[in-house]
Each structure stands twice: as structure tokens, then as C-alpha cells.
Amino acid sequence: MTLNITSILFYAFSLVLLGAATMVVIARNPVYATLYLVLTFFSAAAIFLLLGAEFLGLILILVYVGAVMVLFLFVVMMLDINLARLKEGFLSYLPLGLAIAALGVLELAMVYWTAPMGQVPAPAPFPGNYDNTRALGYVLYTQYLYPFEIAAAILLVAIIAAIALTLRRRSGSKNQRTEEQLLVRAKDRVHLVDLRIKKH
């Protein structure tokens, strides 16, 4: 095995990823667990970059780290999670969990032994100016233009539906009206009263 800089980086990121993933499961504090999950995604993104899939790597950071995990953190911080109740019955679930894990390992091993691993040649390296963001964009906006637009319409429907189903204007609720606050001028709020001091 040759150790060039790429493989050293790959092993480093993989180690961090596996360690962080383990910590997600065993961390006591759910906020820590969420932060470890962020680290896991980060390491995975780095591995994508090493593989030359820079678009996937960046999207992983933008979408998962930037949006999904922040949402997770909000939820975890807002919920009052009783840790003791969550840990209850850990031992009784352990055998089932271990059995499932063992099954997963067994399946992976079977794939490894039966798949024609050595027979598939490694893909040809891409030319130096290859840019998979550009390649993806090209396919998405030419060949798949029509489904892409429909997907956009579906997302719009999802937004409309989510807002229409959850937004409810209650009369009498005391919320700020930003536009009125911004339009306020000094003379609406401050009255100068001419108070003459009477001389006795």
C-alpha cells in the first residue's frame, strides 16, 4: 500500500468520521450528539472532495450542515428531553441492536466476498479541467430541464401548503407590526408641551 498524501487524508477523515459517528450514538447530551453529527457530515464532505465530487461535498455542507442540522439543534434545544427516560431499557434493547448490527456486517461481508471486486477496472481519471458542478448543471438544465421545472413547482406547492395549513392569524394577539414601526416619525411619539413656570 502506497501512502501518498491523498490516502493519508482519506484515512484521517475516515477516522474522524467514524469517531464522530460513534459519539453521536453514545453522547449523553443531545446537543453534543447533534454537534458530533455536524462533524460527521463535515468529514463525509471532505471525503467527497477527495474523490473529486466537489459538488456533492459542498451541497452536503450547505444543505445538511447549514440547514438541516441547525433545525435539529433548534428542536433539540427547545424540547425538554428527559435523558434518564431515554436511557431506560438500554440494556434490554442491546441484544436486538447487536443482532441487527451483526446482520448488517454479515450482509456487507457477503457482498464483499461474492461481488467481482477485482474485475471492475477503476474509472479513468478525469481530465484536469473537469468540473462536475458544471457537468451536473449542464445535464440538469438541458436534458432534464422539464422535470427540473416540475420539481420546482412541487417545492412551491409544498411551501404554499405548509404555510396555508399552519399559519393562523388570531385576532387580538399582541404581535409587532414592523411596517408601522418603521413608518413612525418623531412627531407621532414625542409631544413638546410648553410649560410655563408661573412666578409667584
Binding site: 436534458q143 432534464y144 422539464y146 412541487i154 406547492v157
Partner: protein
């Protein structure tokens, strides 16, 4: 690669509806306070404009966007009937929505997006676009059903519809993935070409067809995949039930044409057998269980299952005449259920839903013309001769007999007779029972009543002169087979 923008004008109606849905959304946001009807009026304008565009492109055949979009008479005809049904939904449901605080721009915008989903399915040339069109339709429908938040049953119906609809999409997708594995293409034309070398006994093919047909049956509401239908039809606000029973059924029929006929006509023997089971089960479930219903929305839901059984008869015949009669039946079903649910809407008031069969007691004395319209609708659903329902049933039976399945036609006729019982019961309640003392006065809704009259009389006129509509359906399907 050919130019991707070639022939994009074929998709003008779709582009128009999408743009106008966005315009309606924004216009409602800014002007709804002053112009309450703006969303409804813009929706009407959208439909008229789309119909004009479709008439302009009528009869053109071609593909756009690398074969993902197909323009042909079938797509045109399906689109035209979908515009008509959404238009009638908007006209019939205005007062009902206003009385329940649901007269909001989002309802109309979602109706337009659902319509767009149907249009995309009707001209889908690729599994990807067909699936996306289906999801666009389904998502809009889930939201519409759950929109009435003050009603517990509506929320429950929305959730049920969402969960079961997602399951159906999963089934359909699984079938599509098997089809892709078998032929190596998502393009419907390529799939049809790829299936030439596949024999009917191929297990993967059988699985693919079973899953795809199950997904379609779910969307159509064919037994044994009809479980969601009665609960959703009953729970949804009646105005939304009216919509669920209209354009989406045309969309589901488009799924049959695009997936099974365009893609799988070469392996018809495989899905034909599945349709025999679906048709017989739907006929039995729909017509027998409807007898026990006291809620008219639920009764019409089971009657829908029965009607789906009849239209499946046309599909399983598989010939041009069979499919044309199935399309004819679908269109007639849409017209009948628009009228049927529209009649329930006419009788509702704020706080009164008019959804029990008992609410129709003595209608003939209170509103003779309404009762006469309901009489025509019920006769048409039952298939009594001068109405179009009779001709629709006759056409599918003829197609099934021509295809050599006399026994299926016999069972169908028997169940049609059983089904006539519960339609005629509504007529009996209207004409021979005394009105309940507590029956509230019927509200005036002249515009809706006028359109209802045209709709009901059309059922009678089409029954006497079914030729043009039938010719239109045959014209739609001529290029497909």
C-alpha cells in the same frame, strides 16, 4: 444532443397554467383585501386561456424536451375536460367556501397546481415526468383536503389520504424501477421497444406490472385499493370532495394510457388479468357496500368505486373501442359526480352540511327543479336509459363482449342492477317522503344553480346524442393504439 428548446411551444398550456398560478398567488396576496374574488376570477381566466391555447395546438403531434413531453390528441382532450371540471368546481364551491371561511387564494392556487399535475401526467413521455406530475397533483390534493382546520374529520381525512397516497406512490415507483431495470430506460417509447423481447412469463415483468397497476388502482380508487376513498370523500370539505372526484380521475386514466398502453401495450396479457380482478372487485365492493350508507357523500364514494369498476371493464378489453369507451366513461363519471356533489353543495348552508340522505327528504316539494336535477343525476349514475350513464355502461359492456369476456359483462350487468337500488332510494326519499320539520331553508345561489342546470341537462342530452362525445374519445385515442 438535439436542441432542448425545440418544440417547446407544444407545452404552452402547461407554461401558461404554471405562470398564472404564480400570478394568482401574488395577486391574492396584495389585492385580496379590496377585491375578494380576485383569486377565483383569475383562476377562471387561467382556465379559459389554457383552453384557448389547447384549441390552438389541437391535433398537433410531437415531443418536446427530449421526449419527456408528448403532445397528442389524447393529452389535448384530457386537458380540455380537466379545464372544464376545474371551472365547474370553482363555480359550484364559491358559496360553500365563503360560508366556512375557506374562500382563500391558496385554495384556488392549489387547484391550479393540481390541474397542472394532471396536464403533466396526460402528456408525460418519461417515467420521471409522469411521476413528478402525479406528486404535484397528490401534494396539492393532500393540502386541499386538510385545509379546513376547524373540522376534525377533514384533518383526519387529510392525514389518511397523505399516508395512503404516499404508500401508493411507493408502489408505483417500485414498479417503475423494476421496469427500468428490465429495459434500461425511463423513456416510455424506449420501454415499449425494450419490452418487445420480454416474454409474458418473465417474473420481473409480472412484478413490475403488478406494482404499477396497484399504484394506478390506488389513485383511481379501484377495489381492493379503495380503503382511503370513503373516508377521504366523507371527511374532506364537500367543495374539495367535488374536486377529488373530477380532474384527478382523468389524471389517473392518463396514467393508464401513458404507462400501460403507451409503454406496456406489447405485454397487455399481463396487466389485463390484473384489471379483470380489479374490475370485478370494484363492481362488487362499490355496488354492494353503498347500499348500507346513510351519508350521501360516503354513498357517492362507494358509487365511485363501482364506476371505477365499470371503466376498468373498458380498459381490460384493451382495444381502441374499449379504451375509448373507458375514456368516455371517465368523462361521464366526472360530469355526473360534479353534478352529484354540486347538488350537495347547493343544499348546504353555513353550519349545515346536507350530507345525510335524509336531508334530501321531500326535496320535490321544497325545490321541484333541484329534485328534478337530482333525479336526472341519480338515473344517470344508475344507468337508466335516456341518460348518458346508460350509454356509457352500454359502451363498456359492448367492448368487453367484443373482447370475448361475456361472463364479465354478465356479472357487470347484475351488479349494475344491484347498484340501481341505492340511487333510486335517493329519488324515492326526494319524491315520496315528507320533509323533516327541522330542514333549514335552501339558500339562493343563482349562478351555481344555473351551471348545475346546464350540467344536469347535459347528462340527458348526451344520453340522447352520445355520438359526438364518443367520436371525440375515439379521436383522442386513435394515435395511442
Amino acid at each position: 444532443m438535439t436542441d432542448i428548446t425545440a418544440h417547446w411551444t407544444l407545452a404552452l398550456p402547461e407554461i401558461w397554467v404554471l405562470s398564472m398560478a404564480c400570478v394568482t398567488l401574488l395577486a391574492d396576496l396584495f389585492f385580496a383585501a379590496k377585491l375578494r374574488n380576485i383569486a377565483a376570477v383569475l383562476t377562471g381566466l387561467t382556465l379559459v386561456g389554457a383552453a384557448a391555447l389547447t384549441f390552438m395546438l389541437m391535433g398537433q403531434r410531437g415531443a418536446a424536451f427530449n421526449g419527456m413531453f408528448i403532445a397528442d390528441p389524447f393529452a389535448n382532450v384530457t386537458n380540455l375536460f380537466s379545464y372544464l371540471s376545474v371551472f365547474l368546481v370553482v363555480v359550484y364551491s364559491g358559496r360553500y367556501l365563503r360560508e366556512r371561511g375557506l374562500y382563500r387564494g391558496e385554495v384556488f392556487v392549489l387547484l391550479l397546481f393540481a390541474l397542472l399535475g394532471v396536464m403533466i401526467m396526460a402528456s408525460g413521455g418519461n417515467l420521471l415526468t409522469i411521476y413528478l406530475g402525479l406528486e404535484l397533483l397528490a401534494l396539492s390534493q393532500y393540502a386541499l383536503v386538510a385545509m379546513y382546520r376547524d373540522s376534525l374529520v377533514a384533518t383526519e381525512a387529510g392525514l389518511k389520504y397523505f399516508v395512503l397516497g404516499a404508500l401508493a406512490s411507493g408502489l408505483l415507483l417500485y414498479g417503475m424501477s423494476l421496469l427500468y431495470g428490465l429495459t434500461g430506460s425511463l423513456d416510455v417509447q424506449d420501454i415499449a421497444a425494450g419490452l418487445v423481447n420480454v416474454t409474458g412469463s418473465n417474473l420481473v415483468l409480472v412484478f413490475a406490472m403488478v406494482f404499477i397497476t396497484a399504484g394506478i388502482a390506488f389513485k383511481l380508487g379501484a377495489a381492493p385499493f379503495h380503503m382511503w376513498l370513503p373516508d377521504v370523500y366523507q371527511g374532506a370539505p364537500t367543495a374539495i370532495t367535488l374536486f377529488l372526484a373530477s380532474a384527478p380521475k382523468l389524471g389517473a386514466f392518463a396514467l393508464i394510457i401513458r404507462l400501460l398502453v403507451d409503454g406496456g401495450y406489447g405485454v397487455m396479457a399481463v396487466w389485463q388479468q390484473i384489471f379483470i380482478v380489479l374490475a370485478l372487485a370494484s363492481l362488487v365492493v362499490g355496488n354492494v357496500i353503498a347500499i348500507a350508507q346513510g351519508n350521501i357523500k360516503r354513498m357517492l364514494a362507494y358509487s365511485t368505486v363501482g364506476h371505477v369498476g365499470f371503466l376498468s371493464l373498458g380498459v381490460l378489453a384493451g382495444t381502441l373501442n374499449g379504451l375509448a369507451s373507458a375514456l368516455f366513461y371517465t368523462v361521464v363519471y366526472v360530469l355526473m359526480s360534479l353534478a352529484g356533489f354540486g347538488m350537495i353543495l347547493l343544499l348546504t348552508r353555513a353550519g349545515f352540511e346536507a350530507e345525510r340522505i335524509d336531508d334530501f327528504k321531500g326535496l320535490a316539494q321544497r325545490k321541484p327543479w333541484y329534485a328534478a336535477m337530482m333525479l336526472i343525476i341519480m338515473f344517470s349514475m344508475a344507468g337508466v336509459p335516456p341518460t348518458v350513464g346508460f350509454y356509457a355502461k352500454l359502451a363498456v359492456f359492448q367492448a368487453v363482449i367484443d373482447a370475448g369476456y361475456v361472463w364479465i359483462a354478465v356479472i357487470g350487468v347484475l351488479l349494475a342492477v344491484i347498484g340501481a337500488f341505492y340511487y333510486l332510494r335517493v329519488v324515492k326519499v326526494m319524491y315520496f317522503d315528507a320533509p323533516e320539520d327541522a330542514a333549514p331553508e335552501i339558500a339562493r345561489d343563482d349562478v351555481a344553480a344555473a351551471f348545475m342546470s346546464v350540467n344536469s341537462v347535459a347528462l340527458l342530452i348526451l344520453g340522447i346524442l352520445p355520438g359526438p362525445l364518443m367520436a371525440f374519445c375515439i379521436y383522442a385515442l386513435q394515435g395511442v393504439i
